[in-house]
Amino acid sequence: MNELLIKNACVIDPLRGINAETMDIAIRDGRIVEEVSGAAEVIDAHGALTLPGGIDSHTHICGTKVNFGRYMSPEDMRAGRTPRRGPLHATSGYSVPTTYGNSYRYSVMGYTTLLEGAMAPLEARHTHEEFTYTPLQDTMANVLFDGNWGVMEAIRDGDIKRVAAIIAWTLRAVKGFGVKLTNPGGTEAWQWGKNVSCIRDPVPYFEVTPAEIIRSVVEANELLHLPHSVHLHCNNLGTPGNYTCTLGSLGLIPDLNRKRQTLYATHVQFHAYGGSGWRDFCSKSEPIARFVNMRPQIVMDMGQVMFGKTTTMTADGPMEFNLYRLHHDKWSNHDVELETGSGIIPVIYRRKNLVNSIMWAIGLELALLTKSPWQCLLTTDNPNGAPFVRYPEIIALLMSKRYRDAEFATVHPDTAARVPLPAIERELDWYEIAVMTRAGQAKALGIQDLGKGHLGPGAEADIAIYPLRIDEVDPSTDYRKVIEAFGRTEYTIKRGRVVARRGECLVDGSNATFWVRPKVSDAYDMGKDPDFIEKFDRYYTVRMRNYPVQEEYLNRNRCIETEAAI
Amino acid sequence: MTFLMITGRTVNQGVTVEKKTSAAYAEETSTCFMHEFDMLELGLADLDTVMLTGVCGTVVMRAVASGEVEMGTVFVPYGPYANHIIAADTHSTGMPDFKSHEVEIEPTDEEPKSVHGLMEDLGGLAYDR
């Protein structure tokens, strides 16, 4: 029996409505309990800010595309190199660090759970292998269905239950967690070198539109009673004027679920652009935020851009090609048969660049203009907008108008005419930050009942204690202290064990992988469906029996079973 | 005569590659495929032995006519024979010039060595001779 008692913690625990109460937290065998014995090890938090472990609900850290980002970027690897030390392995890389680099750096920032935003089913085994080497966080992966032939054919046939059945079979086979649509339809069109222009533009050959894909998959997702909603990367990422497409996509979504949103729209910053081209490019954060404020069924994440070098990587192959044509730097693309694709290019976001400056502003605006922090979560779409190590700066920007103004003074001078940011006075408080970095994520992912994102009895003892007293620090003025504190916990506790202390990781942990197995009736078991099997064997280059990810690949296996309505 | 030596995979090299000490592997990887005109010029018939001399040594192989190689080039399946005369310079890329090596070829009375023999020439000790 392992017991730990954290005393004098200043707790913000939004899922339980606790806002800055000083209390003790008792932990036994990795879970939070009402009380522990006198033999428990004691940590005195001395009133420091104590939050549930951070959760990143959209990041790219493991899998084929991420690894290709590393593979093609030895120059990136020259930054961030650390040697092996004690139980810790060597790390390399800045924007696309090694798995250990990701894990240690997230841990030092108090993050204990990560969702890989895009996993191609055919290559899922790779993602799971990398999860094993991401030792200090629990992990889960969204599975890409944007160009799935079976799904598109079922949609064309108007058979939503079959859509659900294919999703169910695939999630189970690849040990996936949620349903991801990246540029729905566009990734299939890209396998012909084409794209779809917006949600009404049909996919070549399959003759379904992105709108139909989004609507059908959302319905199927709810038929399967998945913990998470559909996770959507809208069409037309990164193009001027794309906000109308984004609004159109969000407008497709009914409110179908009482416990959580019906749609998670990711990295919306990249989808909130006005203008007819780069010359009149401008922010459209206001209409987007206004729209989301009226629709509880939508949750989004920021996709904040921060200035500096990074590597962009997404399943959105055509978008990356367009970026390549703008930047003329190196470009990788990887189409995956019958399923999806991906692209990668390195970028540098520059303050002196007007477009980049506007992008930087839009992410912040979305967070500040969205009334409920539960509806706009903090991300950079790591590493697309910036590497996640920039999160503390983003927190500080959201909490301090003064900091924003200071930064704004350094960006391209024409930015002010294109964005509403300078006029926004709002400063987020500690509670709202706690929502945007853990509680909101847990709720949006539907994992709060699994003990994630809160500190109530029964919860997993994933805890971040930051070296900061909120009664002593005014984030509006002391934003440097905020950055420092969120960059380096006093303690990061993972499943009841101290894994990081003052910037140093201490152990080589052992994580868990969450995945979902929807239980469907025999009639909807695609493993027994002759048509599905026949097409699989004809068009895939991997045998159907060799496709599913074996349980050997799941380190600590947390299967979530759902009762599907099919 | 001077030739450009190219090395590469062949089915037979692949089939015998896990049996490096077999006669079949030695036979395949000590074959020097040449254009028939070049062989005529050197007075060679199929399976005659030839001495190949590169910048860092010599090795004996058997010449075999092939329609796949151009005059002035020879093709040798990957293996210890070709490597016996290939220089280790990689031009700082990690990769030696496996496909562009100048060699002198002349007829010889010597027989090709065994793989074991080649390894022992370089300081090794054959295990299952």
């Binding site: 292998e129 470009w331 990788s332 048969e337 | -």
Partner: protein
Amino acid sequence: MIVKDAVCPFCGCLCDDIEVEVEGNRVVAVANACELGTTKFMCEERLKGPILRDGDGWKEITYDEAIRYAADTLLSAERPLLYGWSGTHGEAQCVGVHMAELIRGVIDNTSSVCHGPSILAIQEVGHPGCTLGVVKNRADLVIYWGSNPIDAHPRHLSRYTRYADGFFLENAFRDRKVIVVDIRRTQTANIADEFVQIKPGGDYAVLSALRAIVQGKTETIPRTVAGVTREQLVRVANLCKGAKFGAVYFGVGLTMTRGKYKNIRNAIELVSELSRHTKFTISAMRGHYNVYGSNEVNTWMTGYPFGIDFSRGIAFYNPGETTAVDILARKECDAALIVGSDPAAHFPRRCLEHLADIPVIQIDPYPNATTAFCNVQIPVAVTGIDAVGTAYRMDGVPIRTRRVLSTDYPSDEEVLLRMYTLMQGAR
């Protein structure tokens, strides 16, 4: 007993539709595999147990002794080289990386002498590629450049290209054009619709010329480029631009000739140029069944795909300096661990001369050329035959191999883990 959907541990095609018939724990028949794969499944000439070089002879030793010897030798080295890895599964490769980190050695895999230059090129310009099934289902034009699949990847043509019908190609043989570019008229050239024969060393110039022609700058190009007429270059460029989906597969014919990675870079830049006109992809014909896996594992664990030097604790990468051939030829290592490859058969002689001078430990199921340079060889189970693990196909698709025979041999992973545990105890 017939094991279905077995995974062939020979080449980078990693065919996973093999049927292996087993009787009395021996493979008696193999269906669906090519000659290379069949022979591998049927191969029975294994080393019986660990052996130790003892002066001018060999003696049999126990696994415990061999593993202890290996751990001690590598721990005392100032710059141990850990080389090979492509012939084993990912789980073992992971232990290898941890070991290199711990003992501060250099870890390199066989890609340094196959597609290492391709990786260097990708690191300069990226890589527009795709999985093999995308080509099978869509490509109406396939170009083999400096690769000879009939000899090296026999089923590539039947599973993915020349003879492989796909979703959008009901009759691939009729509807898909194949161009072969090579310096010699290989067997693959004989089944091509168009054969482009280049003078040795001329690939780079031909690729540059094609890039210019695709941009419409034909007038600058001389009448012949490396033995290829301008007319043929224009015809090839037009075939490419006119294709709905083109796929280039290149082999070591490009990576091993002068210029090395610059050839690949130029080929990738040609494909990027063509991508402005139509859909085009390019991919390497990877050799060993899991050489790509060794790149993947090394990359997620160290940040670099091959040639990683941990001498200073942090990972340093510089092919040409930190790659096996260079290190051996320059005598820059003082011990070597060889796993899942046979450098004595595939490295230039100068490298072997250094192997003869330093302690060498080899983990390999078979007696091979490198055995002659070993101080200790430890036999192991064969991944894909009697050991199970992860391998990455040439296009990055990971597949778990199947076990077809039972065995008493330990796997590479087990042997390496035992060595690693001893090393951890000592450090």
